[in-house]
Symmetry: C2
Subunit: 467 residues, 2 copies
């Protein structure tokens, strides 16, 4: 409104956003006293008059109240939980939701080397159509009835068999079907952690772990990730210092780096965790992409403190989703109640489609084809990227990702914003990093890099940034 | 082990179970001091030696520790959340999970007048098969891609249109698809309430509201339900006394009673809620069963403080589930992030099937047929029940339920256990009641009473109880 204040408007908005975010995330709860104007000005690196202006704006909005002589307080009307501040497409903060929303909401013209899934043309289309036609002839009960609490018995028996191939002993009644891999982890967090507990993750890790853990309002501690697994010295130190309740990791193939646990790291990791009474969720969602046997924590541990989860969204379909949890019997029993309470009956149709494709040999043939095709794509994309001085951190032995270091001095978030303006969704390193130490990295999905435009846009973005 | 203690063994087990339940539900958190032996003996109505024995057993199990001179304390090893104590099929406590588990897990020979859904033969089988065959020919992307955060755009537009027929103005971008009606309420609870908040429900209400709210560890307060809606005097008193954050109710048709809100009650309810700043979740899941227009809170309120949810599990299929939330734009925006964080992409196949059936006229024809058939079944079953002196509380104007008073002196839970021994799952009144004041009631699903055996078992259970 006042033209003279425009220069300062951005700073005021930043302070307003910071307070609003704290209230939404309940770091400031209803009735809490806000930081003093002076101290918050210092924290935000702005003048006290900017903070005064911001607080006044929040008073006008009814979000906070002033008590003369005492300070500012959060109004006692509770605010709904907000996981991210909402903004227009390009200005939205590059937070854990950035890549998810950009790639899930992308229109048909948008290229998505930043997304975490295969193009439709790589998926087993014919098998899915066949399974759907077969299901259209199923008996009436299968078409309309609720699922049982554990879910589709034949699919659970098949999963049990598949797990045994990786050395994981999980009888069918120790397997609970979920509506997705993400929902599996979410349910386990509801079972195992409370707000304020500490959870360990890899740094970097799959960005949606961070979004999910935010929803559980736990303290997230990152452990630096190496090409053979978590840095064990840092892991041991984190156990001692933070007494975490849970550790969430990928084993088969790590997201975003494509690395695999070494057997020695796996063993040592379990010993340390055992001593500390730590529970581990092993997310095996990329396990079927492994080109060689990968050690599974759940196999070594015998499903005692380790819980394995997985899904078929990456290799079969993400449109009829189906995940699973394999865990101790008493945890499965409690998860059944939690599943009833929060979803009632699961999605038997999805389970049936997955079962139909898994039970004949076509899924295995599909995986073999995928692994070959991905190996070629990783090789091709790696050399295209190297030509742009974007350097893969390791050469993964399977999977869809290359975790790459950007040319010196380039900031991933800045880079991703530029690319988005040209309709290319990238995955900047810091969305994967608790410590925000991966600004110079970027995750590439090699299966989504077939279009020349990807490299043209990368080239332009590098040129623009190094002017 | 000691035969002489057998007589007392049941009481000790009861005390052990009570403590275990409090620890699991975190009413007693790690490190908390247990009630003194004397006071807990009074609470449980047992001797102090029984409590001593129970505490010793829990010490032996490592669940609690004794500190000489100071008392007993919960061990500092955190326990996973437990929503219900687990027991064998017949002995399991008749808690909010009782009916869910018995009916979801029931084999083919079990009759389920206690369940909350229609038999498969009542559902639109031909339309589902047709929709599946059509979907088997969809373009590849639809078969395999993740859904968008809000979900299937055409289905949301159709839902918007359908809601407008009930006077609810909800543009498609104010509608978010969920994986079920239950998941819709669960997500809203995650958005709106915190552990320790108070939530109002009807007494009686759908038992899974109670299970779900337990998972959110809120305080549940029941408002007595009348044939025209909640008792408004009690509602107003509850607002004043408990300052609830949320009220969850059914409008279209109430579960378990089949009653409808009267327009005057709806209006007064909203005025009271507005003054108190209360948010309302209106679960319209049985709305399509209404034989005449029912007032919708979301219509009167204009989706301001009222959120409407619904699903098609009751009228179309519970095997490919799809629910929705209609709410204020800023809440939908936050729910989108929560949906990404906790489920990532929804289930587009289910949404597509629902859309395919809703968009042609067959769903409307199916509903008309259902309503007629249900009206006949309600009449028939009501007279069969009256002959056994099981008396319907009201004559519902639609839906699948009859809420009935049992013959004098009969206890619903006892009755249900007897019936279960004969493979008939009933829904005893108290599983619906926060205040446990519905022991003399029972909910009957008229569509699940076609088998003569239901009435034979009821008759025998009455005879056995009145000996």
């Amino acid at each position: 409104m006042d033209v003279s204040s425009t220069a300062n408007g951005g700073q005021t908005a930043r302070v307003v956003a910071a307070i609003r975010q704290r209230i939404s995330a309940r770091a400031l709860s209803p009735g809490a006293r806000l930081p003093s104007i002076r101290s918050f000005a210092r924290t935000m690196g702005v003048s006290t008059s900017t903070v005064v202006e911001a607080y006044e704006r929040l008073v006008a909005e009814g979000l906070i109240q002033s008590r003369p002589g005492s300070g500012f307080y959060v109004t006692r009307v509770p605010q709904p939980l907000a996981l991210a501040e909402i903004g227009p497409r390009l200005e939205r903060a590059v937070d854990p939701f950035w890549v998810s929303r950009q790639s899930l909401e992308a229109g048909g013209d948008v290229l998505k080397p930043g997304c975490g899934w295969l193009p439709a043309s790589w998926m087993p289309e014919a098998e899915l159509r066949k399974a759907l036609r077969r299901f259209a002839r199923a008996e009436a009960g299968h078409l309309v009835d609720y699922g049982t609490p554990l879910g589709h018995p034949s699919l659970r028996r098949l999963l049990s068999l598949r797990m045994s191939e990786h050395g994981v002993v999980a009888p069918a009644d120790q397997i609970l079907l979920t509506e997705s891999g993400t929902q599996a982890i979410d349910m386990l967090c509801r079972l195992l952690v409370e707000p304020g507990d500490t959870v360990l993750v890899d740094d970097p890790c799959y960005f949606n772990f961070l979004a999910l853990l935010r929803a559980h309002r736990v303290k997230i501690v990152g452990v630096p990730w190496t090409p053979s697994g978590p840095d064990l010295t840092a892991f041991a130190a984190a156990l001692g210092e933070h007494r975490p309740r849970l550790y969430i990791t990928n084993s088969g193939l790590h997201n975003p780096t494509g690395a695999m646990l070494s057997p020695a790291t796996a063993h040592r990791l379990l010993s340390l965790s055992g001593e500390a009474g730590l529970t581990i969720i092993e997310d095996d969602i990329f396990g079927d992409f492994c080109e060689e046997p990968a050690p599974r924590l759940a196999a070594l541990d015998g499903l005692d403190r380790v819980i394995q989860i997985g899904s078929f969204s990456k290799t079969l379909t993400a449109a009829a989703r189906c995940g699973y949890i394999a865990a101790r019997p008493e945890w499965i029993e409690r998860l059944s109640d939690l599943k009833i309470a929060t979803t009632f009956g699961g999605n038997p149709v999805s389970a049936d489609l997955v079962h139909a494709i898994l039970r004949d040999g076509s899924y295995r043939r599909h995986l073999n084809g995928l692994r070959d095709r991905l190996a070629r794509a990783r090789g091709d994309v790696a050399s295209r990227l190297r030509a742009l001085e974007i350097r893969p951190w390791i050469e993964p032995r399977g999977g869809i990702f290359l975790w790459c270091q950007l040319p010196d001095g380039l900031d991933g978030a800045e880079f991703a914003r530029r690319a988005l303006a040209e309709d290319v969704v990238l995955a900047p390193g810091n969305v994967f990093s608790v410590s925000q130490s991966c600004a110079a990295f970027m995750r590439f999905n090699v299966a989504q890099c077939a279009d020349e435009r990807v490299f043209a846009v990368l080239k332009r973005a590098i040129a623009a940034a190094t002017v």
